[in-house]
Symmetry: C2
Subunit: 255 residues, 2 copies
DNA sequence: AACATCGGTCGGCATTACCGAACGAGGGTC
DNA sequence: GACCCTCGTTCGGTAATGCCGACCGATGTT
């Protein structure tokens, strides 16, 4: 593999940086964060602005992401095969389970939500599509880790963030949980990311049986789990049926 | 203004190309479409793949957009001030009008939908956020053209596409319609993009009174318009109130 | 079975984009 | 109100950079 084009890599790093910090960033901040000379960063930003990937606040001169990215992002959704093949099954799963359904795929050490069906009641819910969830504290992420869809090593170096007192932060307990998920064929998360919330997820396999994503249901812990705090068997059944159906659609031979 | 970085411009052109054709593209197609040598296109694609901006089908070797763009696109929505200041007003407008509400901003000779509130009934609707509408055949686009938010010239060169028999395709009728919109302060589109559908829109102004976007309601022509085919005055009133409120929030002095 | 097509690789050339210092405007402070 | 500091921007020299076009090997087509 020969060398990648560094100006493009740098441009991508700038876009990721702007996406991370939710506020606008100045040229100096961008340049120092990436170890670039001010002039270099300015040239890249000028180009990105020219193609509408970044916008500049005329008053302060600070930069933020641009409108063209929104269209590219939704165009990605249109061509994504995992998502398009899952939509019907996800709708049905939400109806049968009465809970919100989300699909995730690994991205940069997190879980990218590529589809989201609201819980079928009239409560106000926010669309999670495009959001990034943590690998170690979401049912989708734990399943992706357990079945090798994304490397585990980066998590074992630094202590992962503890969102609640139930978050698995020690490598050994995380490893044990992942082994259990591999045995059972599904994984759960009970108040590990947010108190009162729980979720269960199952892997989706593509051609060759490789795990390419995960599908999960999530909601209030008292609906997802029984009185002992274990996920409801009925939910697990309908979830796994949906995951198997999608895998079959994607060309996974038999799972 | 010095020269922009060509490799980044080329990378952006490739991404736009992949977003345009809804199917996967091969290396050769990409290279010839942009007039690049195969090796050059391959180097750029390899880099874009490395940063998750494109994905490659392992079976066919063809390329498509990548997952990182989805996250960047939604991050743009988070920081976009026009959208965040509009959300509450758009919700209220949908409730008061009983119709779907959309917000648009110009992008590359089209209208980018940056917010969409469903019509407040239980019918199935698809989210338009991230979609691109034509300038000359949508109420949002006609308003943006009329108030100079995007240049008119590119439309006058080639005949714009006629979606229905009501689409304004002749420069003179388009110009007359835009003048009328400027006089009235709002614009409509009646079955110009799709038979049976209509919409009305009003401009949103930012600091200095410059038009930065448009807000509109759209739906079945028999609900939007009266029996004479003219937009309902009551709808126009609530729409313009919402547009003025958002403009005030954005810092437009008085309009 | 031969061919055509495709994605991918490699080395040489010169164009390319990088760097660092200097500029000018804006805002904050004393 | 004048100073100073910081920020975004510009500019020219340099050599590192990415571009080009010919060449491989695999795939599937006729």
């Amino acid at each position: 593999m020969a060398g990648p084009v560094q100006s493009i890599e740098r441009a991508a790093a700038i876009l990721r940086l702007l996406a991370g910090g939710s506020r606008r960033l100045g040229l100096g901040e961008v340049a120092s964060s990436l170890g670039l000379a001010k002039g270099t960063a300015h040239g890249i930003l000028r180009t990105l602005q020219h193609v509408d990937f970044v916008e500049q606040d005329p008053a302060t001169g600070k930069y933020q992401l641009g409108a063209a990215l929104l269209h590219l992002g939704t165009s990605y959704l249109d061509v994504n095969e995992l998502r398009s093949r899952s939509i019907n099954w996800a709708d049905a799963l939400a109806a049968r389970s009465g809970e919100a359904v989300r699909l995730g795929t690994p991205l940069e050490g997190r879980v990218l939500v590529i589809h989201h069906v609201f819980r079928p009641d009239d409560t106000l819910q926010t669309l999670d599509v495009g959001a990034l969830l943590p690998l170690h504290a979401s049912s989708l992420g734990k399943v992706l880790l357990a079945f090798g869809a994304t490397p585990l090593e980066p998590l074992l170096d630094g202590e992962p963030e503890a969102y609640t007192r139930h978050t698995l932060v020690h490598p050994e307990e995380l490893n044990r949980a992942l082994g259990e998920i591999r045995d059972l064929g599904w994984g759960a998360e009970v108040q590990e990311m947010s108190m009162g919330e729980a979720g269960i997820a199952a892997p989706i396999r593509g051609q060759g049986g490789l795990v390419v994503g995960a599908i999960g249901v999530s909601g209030a812990v008292e609906r997802i789990c029984d009185t002992k705090g274990r996920p409801q068997p009925a939910l697990i059944t309908v979830l796994r049926e949906a995951a198997r159906a999608i895998s079959r659609d994607l060309g996974a031979a038999r799972w």
